[in-house]
């Protein structure tokens, strides 16, 4: 780039005002982050005050959601949020860690970059597009192919019993898994790359096979960081809204079967917020939002702390 001529940027003698004004403007912008955090927490509290005082703690474990009778309980949504997110983790963590292992330890150098780019592109696909694809492509396939097979072979478990609708907790878990795979994979990759080569060389020198090296020297060394990656994925999964809303079936029930429809905190807010006709109804939705915020913030902070202790200060960019 061309350097500006020195004369044009020499200071007017004695003027410190622009300097401190600039500094304060920058400080204000940085401080805005804190203002935003307080704003988010405060507004949700204000919005949910009515429901907080009316239902108190009972809100959290009442499973009744009846806008007509003005009775609201969060349990089915908390259940749905956790079950769908945990399903997603069960699917995404092994796949993500395996892919990260493949990328750091096995893949030929020429293959690595294209796969990494593909995973980044996957991360860029908007939630609503996954939802659309979920409704029209994934759900029919699951309903007609995968679910009947699961029911046939694992039907003795309560998890895989009951009628198959397509729209279901399991479909939501699968969609969320696809959406959190990129972040789990890329963070796992960072973690695995930070494992010193000395570890691997030592294991090879003892005559270990490739898998034994990965298991003994790499995975056990990186265990804590990989756990952090999974928790960060959980933080993303809990707040997923649009795609989940489109495939989970939106029924506030607690069912042992993964084929049954469910409902999550985020999707009930997305569906019912603009239809909430009474103040108490809206206030209850705000309280659901408050629960969602509290859980995601806690999970994210836990993940940050775990990853920072694993990778040092350089890891802070992962979120």
């Amino acid at each position: 780039m061309s350097a500006p001529s020195p004369r044009s940027i020499l200071p007017a003698p004695g003027s410190q005002l622009p300097n401190s004004a600039f500094k304060w403007a920058a400080a204000l912008a940085a401080g805005m982050i804190v203002v935003l955090i307080v704003l988010v927490g405060w507004e949700l509290y204000v919005g949910s005050r009515q429901s907080l005082f009316k239902f108190a703690a009972g809100f959290l474990w009442s499973s009744e959601w009846d806008p007509v009778a003005e009775r609201y309980g969060a349990l089915p949504f908390i259940f749905g949020t956790f079950v769908s997110s945990l399903l997603a983790l069960v699917i995404a963590v092994p796949l993500g860690v395996a892919t990260a292992l493949f990328l750091t330890e096995l893949a030929p150098l020429k293959l690595r970059q294209p796969i990494i780019i593909a995973i980044e592109m996957l991360a860029a696909v908007p939630s609503v597009i996954f939802g659309l694809w979920g409704i029209f492509v994934l759900i029919p396939w699951l309903r007609d192919h995968l679910f009947p097979v699961l029911k046939h072979s694992l039907g003795f478990l309560p998890l895989f019993q009951g009628p198959i609708y397509g729209l279901s907790m399991l479909a939501a878990g699968i969609i969320i898994a696809i959406m959190i795979l990129p972040i789990i994979t890329s963070i796992s990759r960072e973690i695995l790359r930070s494992v010193p080569d000395l570890q691997r060389e030592a294991a090879y020198a003892l005559g270990a096979t490739r898998w034994e090296v990965l298991r003994i020297a790499v995975l056990s060394y990186a265990r804590r960081g990989l756990f952090g990656a999974a928790i960060l994925g959980l933080g993303r999964a809990l707040g997923e809204t649009m795609a989940v809303t489109m495939v989970i079936g939106n029924r506030p029930q607690i069912s042992a079967s993964l084929f049954a429809p469910g409902y999550t905190l985020a999707s009930v807010i997305a569906n019912e917020f603009t239809e909430a006709t009474t103040d108490l109804y809206r206030s209850s939705l705000y309280e659901l939002g408050l629960v969602l915020l509290a859980v995601t913030v806690l999970v994210n902070v836990a993940a940050q702390v775990m990853l920072k202790s694993m990778m040092g200060s350089g890891s802070s960019k992962v979120a």
Binding site: A26, I33, L122, W133, T209, W211
Partner: protein, 289 residues
């Protein structure tokens, strides 16, 4: 003597080798399974969306229920308007905040701001919608483009701030020292030397943030709301591609499903274009360094 792990028999050695090879195969299969959805999604977007992409789609308004045809012109323009408004908020606050972190802040202050920014990044997008609803929709008694733009803009702030800080820190300290030694005042050193050197990196960060919020639907549901007309006033509800895809995708009409796919294809193309721009920008940066 039974095979012991301590005294390897040839059979045991073969088993270990076989196991290692099998797991290598599993890892390859996992990597394929992870990238498969990308290609499946893109394949179906093109297969189902491209046939509905015609001139009308880009120039016409949505038709009322039951009438065939129509397009998403208002949603496309709405998305562009919302993105511009978001950038107008997210870029100045994000860049200035990044400048503070990289050039002024104390370590302790920076640590907490970074931490706060990461926490803010983790706030579910639907929660942003609820917050802005109380701040900008309830007091003004109308859903509006302003509310949607602000919701997206605030989501951009932590993203832009973190990337700006990262690229500013990469500018060599000697540039600053050389400029200071010439007697240039601090803020001019920062704007004319440091920021200008890192401009490409900052632009990359901004585009990454734009690509990330371009597909956001949840924060717009209770702020921009969406409509099926041209919005002539930013103080009225405005449509956006993600909102339109959501509404049409869940509708019972085949014609609307086709349009939802077409809209999704356009949105995906927009996001891919932003991502490719980022790749080109950052490739140049690497080769220049």
């Amino acid at each position: 003597m039974a095979a012991s792990p301590y005294l390897p028999t040839p059979r045991y050695a073969r088993w270990r080798k076989w196991k290692s090879g099998a797991i290598t195969g599993v890892l390859v299969a996992c990597a394929l399974a992870v990238i498969a959805p990308l290609f499946l999604v893109i394949y179906f977007l093109v297969a189902r969306g491209s046939s509905s992409l015609d001139w009308n789609f880009f120039t016409q308004l949505p038709k009322p229920t039951g009438e065939l045809g129509g397009g998403m012109a208002n949603a496309i323009v709405g998305t562009l308007i919302l993105l511009s408004m978001a950038a107008a908020i997210g870029v100045p606050f994000g860049v200035f905040g990044g400048i503070y972190l990289a050039e002024y802040g104390s370590d302790r202050f920076n640590y907490w701001i970074r931490f706060a920014a990461d926490v803010l990044n983790g706030v579910p997008s639907i929660v942003w919608g609820m917050v802005i609803y109380l701040v900008l929709v309830v007091p003004f008694k109308t859903f509006s483009a302003y509310a949607g733009g602000v919701a997206l803009g605030l989501m951009m702030v932590p993203l832009v701030m973190r990337t700006t800080e990262e690229v500013l820190v990469l500018v060599p300290q000697s540039y600053r020292e050389a400029a200071m030694a010439l007697g240039i005042t601090r803020w001019k050193v920062i704007t004319v030397i440091v920021v200008r050197t890192a401009l490409k990196g900052i632009a990359t960060g901004v585009i990454v943030a734009l690509a990330r919020i371009a597909g956001e639907t949840a924060p717009l549901l209770f702020t921009a709301l969406g409509n099926s007309f041209w919005s002539h006033n930013l103080n009225e509800p405005i449509s956006a591609l993600p909102l339109q895809i959501f509404a049409y995708g869940l509708s019972p009409y085949d014609d609307w499903h086709r349009q939802a796919w077409a809209g999704a294809l356009v949105l995906m193309a927009l996001i891919l274009a932003l991502n490719i721009t980022v790749r080109i920008l950052s490739r140049d940066r690497k080769s220049a360094a």
